[in-house]
């Protein structure tokens, strides 16, 4: 019998988790499957999802990215700062924001690939830098204290809107970006190289694939995701403060892991991350409706992530040992 691949099993587990959770909440509450609740869940999920796209790509290269949410917050604050203190045109401000998002990616990519710093530590630190910049740029009142800035620009506000059927623009943006990222991963050279780099770096490099180029690519895409997420976030909130986006990174990393991305690299895809994001959101929402506390919700997602990590850590080793034994027993029967 051919062994099932880690990816296949993980996909099945995450789908089952999502379906089971959805069924439980549907049966136990009246409002869970209402159209209003679904569209609003998909809106919240979209913000985690957009950040998770970039993070998943980083994880597939064998890395991580803990700074995605903080970069989003920084881009939001760049917008608020220019909006409040300058008379730049909207287009100008948006372009500066785009540049800020991309530069955050280049910076991460540089630290991770050129300086060869471990992704986890590197992005933990760069995230702090992004947060520091957010505080520096924060809009202050006449006494010098940080205030949250109202963004009254109608174009930006319209980004928080929805179609007549109730689905929010941000949800559509998330799904389109997920699709594009999936095509990138599965149908292009870059995608193959991203998997190759994460799966076995030296072999990939011997095939002429550049570590620096691949790392730069995924972190710049992650920076772009932070920019897009930031624009929709401003539209959704209508304000910006120093805490915006800070919680997103960890939720997005959790979603990637639940969806099948593995920290050792080479595994995971956008469909998995989509499922992971939906799972995180259903859990969050259902828990609210269940009157469970945030603590209970955190414990549930924490336990599930640990179980997934345990599975990742031991599955391949276990299957390999089993195969060695089976081969040995077969040899004995062969009578050599």
């Amino acid at each position: 019998m051919k062994q099932m691949r880690q990816e296949t099993i993980r996909r099945i587990i995450s789908l089952v988790l999502l379906v089971v959770l959805t069924i439980i909440f549907t049966l136990t509450t009246d409002t869970f499957l209402s159209w209003d609740n679904i569209t609003s869940m998909l809106r919240e999920a979209a913000f985690i999802g957009i950040i998770a796209i970039g993070i998943t790509l980083c994880i597939i290269t064998g890395g991580n990215n803990l700074s995605g949410g903080l970069a989003l917050g920084m881009v939001c604050m760049v917008f608020a700062h220019l909006y409040h203190y300058t008379s730049m045109s909207l287009l100008g401000i948006v372009l500066v924001c785009l540049a800020a998002g991309l530069i955050s990616g280049v910076f991460n990519g540089f630290v991770v690939s050129v300086l060869q710093i471990n992704d986890f530590i590197a992005t933990l630190s760069t995230g702090m830098i992004f947060q520091g910049i957010t505080y520096i740029l924060a809009v202050r009142n006449q006494y010098g204290s940080i205030t949250s800035e109202m963004i009254k620009n109608p174009t930006i506000q319209s980004l928080g809107g929805k179609f007549s059927n109730g689905i929010y623009y941000v949800t559509i943006a998330w799904l389109i970006m997920t699709l594009i990222a999936q095509i990138l991963l599965k149908k292009t050279k870059i995608g193959t190289y991203i998997y190759a780099m994460g799966s076995k770096r030296t072999s990939a490099e011997y095939s002429g694939i550049s570590f620096i180029k691949i790392k730069m690519t995924v972190f710049i895409i992650a920076g772009f995701c932070s920019f897009v997420g930031a624009m929709f976030m401003l539209g959704r909130m209508g304000t910006c403060d120093v805490e915006t986006g800070a919680a997103l990174s960890l939720q997005a990393v959790s979603a990637s892991v639940i969806g099948g991305a593995v920290f050792s690299g080479g595994r995971g895809d956008m469909i998995g991350t989509l499922i992971g994001v939906l799972f995180m959101q259903v859990l969050r929402n259902g828990v609210l409706k269940f009157n469970m506390t945030t603590a209970q919700q955190a414990i549930i997602s924490g336990i599930i992530i640990v179980l997934m990590l345990v599975f990742d850590a031991y599955y391949n080793e276990f299957m390999q040992k089993r195969a060695t034994r089976a081969a040995a027993i077969a040899r004995e029967k062969e009578g050599r």
């Binding site: 190759a196 076995k200 990939a204 011997y206 095939s207 694939i209 034994r325 081969a327 040995a328 040899r331």
Partner: protein, 505 residues
């Protein structure tokens, strides 16, 4: 293969010098078109240096290389690949989570504007596979394949680049006999398609069966080239070893041969690693397990120590059955000098004293606290027992030379009351002077009555140190030399599968 084909590849007067040592001394080597050419020699004879030169890992210090009659320079892996040279690595270089076709075409994708034409790629690779009839599919994911299949993918990868010369380095080391047969069939197919192969293996039997020619290296020099029809196994082995007169071990016969058994192993089996292993080690005896790498020697020792599990069989210590765990073994007076001292033998950032103290804290720290004076004393004791240099117990072990690092590892156990010491390849990467000192320490331990079970691949070392020798092959003990008389040839032939009077089929 009686007609002589034309020469494809030639190396002339190749020289390589590592810090004043001639690793290769005017070596000549050539491969004909469609020939399987085996490269034989003992460890350190220069085989891997030669291969590294022709694949661009090392730069040669002298000599010329010709491909198809034209002189070429090989300074990098790319140069080698461009010249049509491909290596099937012992450590497979495939990407586990990608498919067969993605692996073969990695870096050379068929694409338009960056988008891969999956269909064209799959078809091209499936055609290649069908052409050779390998039992793999283009869409299989590499990590789901067996070792043998992965090797086939490596070979396909070489063929996809139109390699004219494929180097196989110990290709059967991790294959079952049935898988090996399949590989041999593939090699014969390649030969028919005019692909040349350089074949390196310690398994002489398969070398003799497969090769059209054999080049033998010894001490970095040519020791001979033999055509298939002239192969005589015992002659080949003599050329590898280079001594006409057999060296015997009669001088090391155990005087206390009626001493009691300290360690007894009965029918020990760990499926997939070793099978039905039985032997005993007497008080004051040095028993050496030898054989090829991967024959299960290290695994036996680790199971006896309790570092790995086993499935069935019995281990007796001083006549009583024991179920070893590492803690119990240490408490019973066992010590282990592991194969890879850098990762398993010592902590490089700690001093000699601290390293030695690690195995002695049961006595040093009965209350949980350690007296620095006690610790220092045991560090000094270790230094003097092993004649460690510099004679300073406060040096970090990581800063010592290889030989002195090994002495520090020995010191960890010499400072205890040892009954049994398990030693795995003690002198790998250690210079000759320090080797002798380590042999003296081992001999001294035996004289004090410690039972020594040692694993070694270095045949000269085995003969020098052992009272008794067990040869392992594919997880089983296949030969015992217990009369104190064995020669390098005997051991080499037994390890490679020629037991007693068995000749090439």
């Amino acid at each position: 293969m009686s007609e002589k084909r034309e020469v494809l590849f030639e190396m002339k007067n190749i020289e390589k010098i590592f810090s004043h040592v001639h690793a290769l001394d005017h070596v000549n080597f050539d491969v004909r078109k469609g020939e399987v050419h085996a490269l034989l020699g003992e460890n350190g004879a220069g085989k891997s240096t030669l291969i590294k030169i022709l694949t661009g890992v090392y730069k040669k210090d002298g000599g010329q290389i010709f491909m198809d009659g034209k002189e070429i320079e090989i300074n990098s892996r790319e140069d080698a690949a461009n010249a049509g040279i491909a290596v099937i690595f012992q450590e497979l270089s495939l990407i586990p989570t990608l498919s067969v076709y993605q692996n073969i075409l990695l870096g050379k994708e068929i694409s338009k504007f960056g988008f891969i034409s999956d269909r064209a790629e799959k078809k091209q690779i499936q055609d290649l596979i069908d052409n050779y009839g390998f039992p793999v599919k283009a869409t299989d994911i590499v990590e789901t394949l067996s070792v043998a299949q992965k090797q086939m993918v490596e070979i396909l990868k070489a063929l996809a680049t139109d390699a004219k010369l494929i180097i196989m380095d110990e290709p059967t080391a991790s294959l079952s006999s049935r898988e090996s047969e399949l590989l041999f069939k593939i090699i014969n197919q390649l030969r028919e398609k005019e692909v040349s192969i350089i074949y390196i293996s310690h398994r002489l039997e398969e070398v003799f069966n497969l090769s059209d020619r054999i080049t033998i290296l010894r001490d970095g020099k040519n020791a001979g080239v033999i055509e298939k029809e002239d192969i005589v196994p015992s002659e080949v082995v003599k050329m590898m070893i280079g001594k006409e007169v057999s060296e015997s071990t009669a001088s090391r016969e155990l005087k206390t041969s009626n001493a009691e058994n300290v360690l007894e192993v009965k029918n020990l089996t760990h499926l997939g690693y070793f099978n039905d292993v039985s032997f005993e080690v007497k008080k004051g005896e040095v028993l050496v397990l030898t054989g090829l790498v991967g024959s299960g020697r290290t695994e036996v020792v680790r199971s006896i120590y309790g570092a790995d599990p086993y499935d069935s069989g019995e281990i007796l210590f001083e006549g009583k059955p024991i179920k070893p765990t590492v803690r119990r073994s240490v408490a019973n007076g066992f010590g282990l000098i592991p194969e890879d001292r850098r990762t398993q033998g010592f902590s490089p950032l700690l001093s000699v004293t601290k390293n030695v103290a690690l195995t002695n804290y049961d006595k040093l720290a009965k209350s949980g606290f350690v007296k620095k004076a006690d610790e220092d004393e045991i560090g000094k004791k270790a230094v003097s027992l092993t004649d460690l240099r510099p004679a300073n117990p406060n040096v970090r072990v990581g800063d010592l030379s290889g030989g002195n690092q090994q002495k520090a590892v020995l010191g960890k156990w010499l400072t205890r009351d040892l009954k049994v010491i398990l030693i795995d390849e003690p002198t790998v990467g250690i210079d000759i002077g320090a080797k002798d000192e380590i042999y003296n320490i081992i001999e001294g331990l035996a004289q004090q009555g410690v039972a020594v079970l040692m694993v070694s691949s270095d045949i000269a070392e085995v003969l020098h140190v052992a009272h008794r020798i067990l040869v392992m092959r594919e997880g089983r003990i296949i030969k015992e030399f217990n009369d104190g008389v064995a020669t390098q040839e005997d051991i080499l032939l037994a390890s490679s599968g020629f037991v007693e009077n068995q000749e090439v089929a």
